[in-house]
Amino acid sequence: MITLTGVSKLYRTTDLETTALNEVNIQIGHGEFVAIMGPSGCGKSTLLNIVGLIDSPTSGRYLLDGEDIGRYGEDQLTDVRMNNVGFIFQNFNLIDDLTVQENVELPLVYQNMARAARRSRVREVLELVGLQPRARHKPTQLSGGQQQRVAVARAVVCDPKLIVADEPTGNLDTKNGEDVMDMLATLNEQGATIVMVTHSPSHAGRAHRLINLLDGRVVPSLRAAI
């Protein structure tokens, strides 16, 4: 599904150049559950952003289902992202001013889906994450675990092929963290490809495969690299 070949990402300032990713080569197949691990600043989030199409590499190729998306313009990328990718963030990134229902509905609004169909689909996914009774609440009225479940609902509402999760359990307690991991596992079993950044070895253990990053490079294993 995803093929990254020689992907690098550089951040430049007037007198400093930082390499976030250095010649990364990765392949992720359909239905895979991949965990990315590594120390802070190793490029995990950068890699995840590139995989999730919200950032672009400085060099290298990115094939998504065989399509070279490096040639795509901003609007095309937005379309691909809207139809194929769902995001889950560590800090939830819900819009505080919108209700739970409106937050989940937002991707469907930008897909120009009819209002009735939108509402029906939102109800469906909120029931899936067990938050339908909280549909009219604001995110600030929910617990961290509930907020992350809203974020999961928002990520899956468009039925994406790929879900990228950036430390989805990082701000949660153990119980809520496990609940979220259960949800991701369920989604994966239903066919979604999942790429997750995590610091937790136990959560990484639930993935099919582990990608270790160090100083912007993929390394065989952390222990081996150190």
Partner: protein, 823 residues
Amino acid sequence: MLWHYLGTALHNLRRHRLATLTHILGLALGLSCFVLSFTFIESLREGEPNLPNADRTFVLTQDLLIHNAAKVIPASPYVTLAAYDYLRADFPQLEAVARAMPAGLLGNGGRMSITSGDKGGFVHDLFVDPAFLKTFHLKVLAGDANDPFKGGTGAVITERAALRIFGTRDVLGRRVLFSSKYPAVITAVIADVAQPSHLGDSDRAILQFDFLTPMDVKLLGPEAVGDWTSPATFIYLVLPANGSLSVAALRASLKTFGERHMPASTGHSNFDVVPVSQVRRIMMDRQVVDTGFSIVTSLYTLDALVLIVACFNYANLATALALRRAREIALRKIVGAKRRQLVLQCLIEAGLVGVLALIVAVAMTLALIPLFNVMFTQALRPTAFVHARMWVFLAGLIFSVVMLAGVYPAWTLSRLQPVRALRATSSRTGAGRYIPRALIGLQFMATGFLVIMLLVVQGQNHLMRAALVGIARNPTLVVTTPISDTPVDMRTLRARLLESPAVESVTTTGTVPWSGGCCWVFIVSHSQDPAAKAIQSAGNRIGVDYFQTVGLKLLAGRTFRPDSGDEITTDDFSGKRTLNVVIDQELARQLGYASPAAALNASLFRQPYLPRLPLRVIGVVESAANRLTDEVGSRSDLYLFTPKYADFTIIRFRADQVGEAVAHLEKTWKALAPGVPLERSFMDQRFEDAYATFGTVSALATALTVCAFIIALMGLFGMAVQVTNGRLREIGVRKTLGAKSRRIFTLLLLDFSKPVVLANLIAWPFATLAARAYLGMFFTPMHLSPLVYLAGLASTVVIATAVVCGQSWRAARAQPAEVLRYE
């Protein structure tokens, strides 16, 4: 999708109530200035809404140039009487050609005395052709509707004048005496002219009238009727309803009208026509158009500046607010929002604010109209809002405001990179750091411009009012009843007035001081050759003891003496003898004389009229500040001793004997001219009346500047809040490293002052151009000193600094531990 945008927009506005209120009030203030001006200009445009054939009725215009290319008179609806017969001959297709000419002396604002038995007063009379009544569909309430001027002695009176003078509408057949000389019989009573119109009996009317009397060519004399260089009448042309003569064809033919009929020796005129509905606007503009300064354009320019300040302010505050939503926008992008959708979202928010601001602005305008009418002696009506033009204008205005104020935040937000927005601790990067400052700078540039213009307007007004000191030192009364309206001989009146010890001196003049339309345009040259260099001056007709009475010092030579052959009569304009004149030191300087004495006995010729009058300078007096504006295109004066044509009396009296002087005047007048109403005024009051217009301009400039300043200060304050909040962490770090609150406070103030100072400096050249154009119209313009600019800069900086002081001090006193922990 649209509902989603609207819902989001409403939600955002509700969430940021204070900011929304600030946006709406700022924009509404700018919009209301603009809407009020538009209503005012629309009221001028309304022209003649009650005239059925307004679309076919035009007014002739004429300008006058002399051979050496000086434009003596700019294009105006006041045209020569001589054109009338040629128009009728050249354009037989015209449905009507009608003249209307103020019958009163121009030197007294066209007013003349009227008596009828024991009734009397002062009225405005128009000499008109019979076609005038039909052209303007004046409704005859009583009397002869078909031929009220039959026999040449008929007079038509307005209903309001009849009630004012006679106390009744039943006035048909009454005999009246204009200027104690010209008899007439009232043959018709007409309804007052429906307003708005350029005709009527109010001070706002261009052709003011209470009476209409027939255009009497014999009375005016063949010289006046054949004179192409004395524009004194309006000529109305009504195009045929059948379209046999179009406006375009008429205008094309008028282009050569002057060449075809005007004697080449008198100069050259361009003729044209303007729709009758445009007369009010044109005459309003003409008050200052001679200097290239148009009231309508100036008003729009000033309003546009205020509106631009409001738009920049809105754009800046909206962007600052929007950047606080950077995370939300980034998330919207991540979940699928495209750039154009975000742009649309921002524009809809801007549009919503714009529409709300417009509603507030319209409400403010409606509330301000009565105040505007009082301040500027106007008669604006709120009904202007029901006109389709107004709504089209408002729609266009709001679209422009939305585009101007909404595009920048939309552009900024749509360019946000989601990754950066989610990760960054501050979204103020690159252009985002400078553009708000640039927008604040632009606001203060417009404000700096307005502040300098305000100082110039105030400075000029102060200078003009300085003339009042001189007037107060020489207390004088002016009798505005023309002596020619009385059976009294000037010498007798003068002698009787001087009998009182309260009266110091008495003189006469051809024009009432401070009345506007001051004097003749007098062009003099050292040579008879029409191509020779000529100097334009103001020709003043004066009587005995003029200089002594008005307090002008003699610098060289002598003043006029009745027994020295100085007196000029009508016959002397044949050019057979050399006329003695007195000039002021400014004219002597313009003629090239090194000193007043050097100009004595200089030989001059009056141009461009034939015959070229030979003149001899017998005296030079100091220059007088006797008019506010440069009405005749000259700051110099030339005096002619014409006691027989100097109709208005000026009496100088002792400052401590005002009551005695007035009582003596009234007693003397009653004895010498019983039945002729006495109209008199104090010179300082006349000055105040003449000055009132400039007081109004000053009030207008002050109001607009204050509006712009308030809006710009709101923007600056908004920026101060945004910048200080954004720099709290930096302030915390600086304080941790040892910076004191006072030092950080100074740093912040200097930072905020920079765009204000820079903007003011950039505004200076534009303000200089505008100030020069404005000052150009005054008789005595103020000196545009660097102090004006420095005062403008200092006041702007001080006020701006005061506004951001509190916010800066609050930020400077932030506790490092707190801001670093929470940042």
